[in-house]
């Protein structure tokens, strides 16, 4: 897998830490934030290749956070996760610029596959 750094943001720490553990199997550097505010603070200190954002969070939803993160890191690839999938939210997420939209809990192998592909894309882009 290409090198890179991933930010996982989820207000449910159990789920977020599970995602981090899944990705850690591939020796990817993964940071975890339990709130959008925490995520924005971490993104001020660190550049990320991929962000995995829960869609429904208190205060700021995952799409709003995606736009906020991209203001500082325009090439950031984003995967949106949701426990409440629907064609409408899928359409909104993808047309607003998410690279992928996945249902929670996501299949570990699928998530690893998707993150590997996004990191490979990121490593090839200027």
């Amino acid at each position: 897998m290409a090198d890179g750094r991933v930010l996982v943001v989820d207000d449910e720490p159990d789920h977020g830490l599970t995602v981090r553990a899944i990705l850690a199997r591939d020796a990817v550097a993964v940071d975890f934030a339990a709130s959008p505010e925490d995520a924005l603070a971490q993104a001020c200190q660190q550049t990320y290749d991929v962000a995995i954002l829960d869609l429904r969070m208190p205060g700021r939803d995952g799409l709003s956070l995606m736009h906020a993160l991209r203001r500082g890191q325009p090439s950031l690839r984003v995967i949106i996760l949701t426990a409440y999938p629907s064609p409408t939210t899928c359409r909104t997420a993808l047309t607003e610029g998410a690279s992928a939209y996945l249902e929670k809990p996501c299949a570990p192998e699928a998530l690893r596959a998707m993150v590997a592909s996004l990191l490979a894309q990121s490593s090839k882009s200027p």
Binding site: P87, T88, T92, T95, S99, Y101, L102, E109, A113, S117
Partner: protein
Amino acid sequence: MADRIAQVLADQIEAICANASARLTGRAEFAGDQRHLAAALSTLAAALIDAARDDQPERLSDAALALGRDDGDPCRGYGRVQLLLDVLCSESVEALRRVVLGSEGKEASARLRGLLGPAMLGLADLCRQTDQAGPPEAGAERGS
């Protein structure tokens, strides 16, 4: 390695599809559509074997995109095919792990994920492009 992966998957294709079908049968996305589910799984599994044998991720991506295009609503199609790929990925990796062990098994699993990742991202691109060309319904629901 490519031939080995393809052979393991081909040898276990019936079990992989049966397990995947059992996991998806209760899903609302496939309710009342079991024949479609079986046919789509079979198509994707065959494409996965071809992709593995020739080390050509495009084989799987093309099959997934064709299934996604068949759906009138690109985002509903995305969700359905995405689910199929998720489960097919899990079952295929499990099948590989039972046969290919140790470091060779890890390499085989990584190669398999390397075939599935582009297909999943390609589906998202298809949904995005089709929707931007003409969304089937107005309005947006956020924050779910």
